[in-house]
C-alpha cells in the first residue's frame, strides 16, 4: 500500500467513524431542517449514501461525494411535481437542477418537524465525481437567511464586484447557459470581449472542463495578458451564471482582492 492509498484508507475510516448514527433530527423550521440535510452533504468528502425518513413517512435517499450532492436515488417520495420527479432520472445532478432540488428539499422538510437519518460510505470510486451540486448553491436557491436572495440577476456579490471595478471596466458579457449577452461596453472593447467569448471561452468552458462546476458555483478565473495589452480578463461564476469582463490595467492582484471582499466576504 503506497502513501496515497494509506491516506485514502485513513480518510475512509475516519469518515465511517464520524458518520451520523441513525436517529431523529428535530428542527423548528423548514430552513433549519434543510440546513441539517446540507450539512451532511458538505461533510461528505468521500462518497456517502444519505437516507432521510421524514415525520410523514416520506423517504429520500441520495449520494453525496466531494462535498457535492451527486444524485437522488429512486424511489422518489410521493407527491412530487414532474420537474422534481425528473431529478431522480439524472445520472448526476447539474447546476441547472439547483432550484428544483432546493424546492424539493424544502417541501420535504415542511412535511414535519424532523427526520431520521442514516449515512453509509460508498465503495471505491465514490469520491470521483465531476457533476453534482454544491450545498451552498442549494442553500442560496432556497433563500436561507444570511445568504444572497435568489432571483436577483447574477447576485449581490457580482453586483458589488462590478461596482468596485466600474471605473476600470471596458466591457462585460453575461453568460447564462448557452446564451451570452453584452451588458456593458461599446465599440472595439465590446467587440473584443464578445469575440473572445465566442471564439475561445465557450469552448474552454465546456462540460469536460474539470474546473467548470467550481467556477460556476462561486469561482474566479483571471487571465493576465502581456503588459502591452493594458488590460486583463476576468470570468466570475455565481449560481450558474458567468460574468466575463475586460478590465483596464494589469493589476490582477487588485482584482482578486476586490473579488474576495465582494464575493467571498473576505477582507484579505
Amino acid at each position: 500500500m503506497n502513501d496515497f492509498e494509506r491516506l485514502k484508507a485513513m480518510l475512509r475510516r475516519s469518515a465511517r467513524d464520524g458518520m451520523a448514527r441513525p436517529g431523529p433530527v428535530r428542527y423548528a423550521s423548514w430552513s433549519e431542517g434543510l440546513a441539517r440535510i446540507l450539512e451532511q452533504v458538505d461533510v461528505a468528502v468521500l462518497g456517502r449514501r444519505l437516507s432521510f425518513e421524514f415525520d410523514d413517512g416520506s423517504r429520500l435517499a441520495c449520494e453525496a461525494s466531494g462535498r457535492r450532492l451527486v444524485r437522488l436515488l429512486t424511489p422518489p417520495p410521493p407527491g412530487l411535481t414532474a420537474e422534481q420527479m425528473a431529478l431522480f432520472d439524472r445520472d448526476e445532478l447539474a447546476f441547472d437542477d439547483v432550484r428544483a432540488v432546493s424546492v424539493l428539499f424544502r417541501g420535504l422538510c415542511e412535511r414535519g418537524a424532523g427526520f431520521a437519518m442514516t449515512a453509509e460510505p460508498l465503495g471505491e470510486g465514490g469520491g470521483q465525481v465531476r457533476g453534482g451540486v454544491d450545498p451552498t448553491a442549494i442553500s442560496e436557491a432556497a433563500g436561507l437567511p444570511g445568504e444572497a436572495s435568489p432571483g436577483r440577476g447574477e447576485g449581490t456579490g457580482h453586483e458589488a464586484l462590478l461596482e468596485g471595478l466600474r471605473p476600470l471596466l471596458q466591457a462585460v458579457v453575461l453568460i447564462q447557459g448557452a446564451d451570452s449577452s453584452l451588458v456593458l461596453g461599446e465599440g472595439d472593447e465590446a467587440a473584443f470581449v464578445v469575440d473572445w467569448v465566442e471564439s475561445s471561452l465557450k469552448e474552454l468552458l465546456s462540460p469536460g472542463f474539470p474546473l467548470l462546476g467550481t467556477l460556476e458555483t462561486n469561482g474566479l478565473l483571471v487571465f493576465a495578458l502581456p503588459e502591452r495589452s493594458g488590460r486583463h480578463l476576468l470570468v466570475a461564476g455565481r449560481r450558474g451564471n458567468l460574468l466575463v469582463a475586460a478590465i483596464k490595467h494589469c493589476d490582477v492582484e487588485a482584482t482578486v482582492d476586490l473579488w474576495r471582499r465582494t464575493c467571498q466576504g473576505n477582507p484579505a
Binding site: 473572445w196 475561445s200 474539470p210 469561482g219 474566479l220 487571465f223 480578463l233
Partner: protein
C-alpha cells in the same frame, strides 16, 4: 525547471501544496513537488487544465502570461515560462494565498532557472 528548483519554489510559499512543471505542447508533466503524494492522473489533469487555460486567451493580444483560478476552497495558478512559452509552472495553494507574493515568487523562480538544465 529542475526538481530541486521546484522544491525550493514551493518551500518559499507556506500556502503552496503542490507545484508542477509541465510541457504545454505535449501536455506532459515534467516535474512535480508536493506536500503529499499526488497520483499521476491528478498531475495529468492539472497539466491539461494549464494547457487549455493558457491557450484560451484572445489571439490578438499575445500569449496569456498567467491564469489564476480561485474558489472558496482553494486556488490553482498557472504561469507560462516567458522564456520557454511552451512550458508552465502550475501550483495548488490555499484559498487565501497572497496572490501578489505568489506571482512574484513564481516569476522569479521561472526567470532564475534555465528550463533546459
Amino acid at each position: 525547471m529542475t526538481p530541486s528548483a521546484l522544491n525550493a519554489f514551493r518551500r518559499k510559499l507556506t500556502d503552496c501544496e503542490l507545484a508542477v512543471y509541465v510541457d504545454l505542447e505535449s501536455r506532459t508533466v515534467l516535474s512535480s513537488d508536493g506536500a503529499l503524494h499526488f497520483p499521476q492522473e491528478y498531475l495529468d489533469a492539472l497539466c491539461a487544465c494549464a494547457a487549455d487555460l493558457l491557450a484560451s486567451g484572445p489571439k490578438r493580444e499575445g500569449p496569456v502570461e498567467h491564469v489564476l483560478f480561485l474558489s472558496p476552497t482553494g486556488s490553482r495558478m498557472f504561469f507560462r515560462n516567458l522564456a520557454e512559452p511552451n512550458e508552465a509552472l502550475c501550483c495548488i495553494c490555499a484559498a487565501e494565498v497572497a496572490v501578489g507574493t505568489l506571482i512574484d515568487t513564481a516569476r522569479a523562480a521561472l526567470a532564475g532557472e534555465d528550463p533546459a538544465e
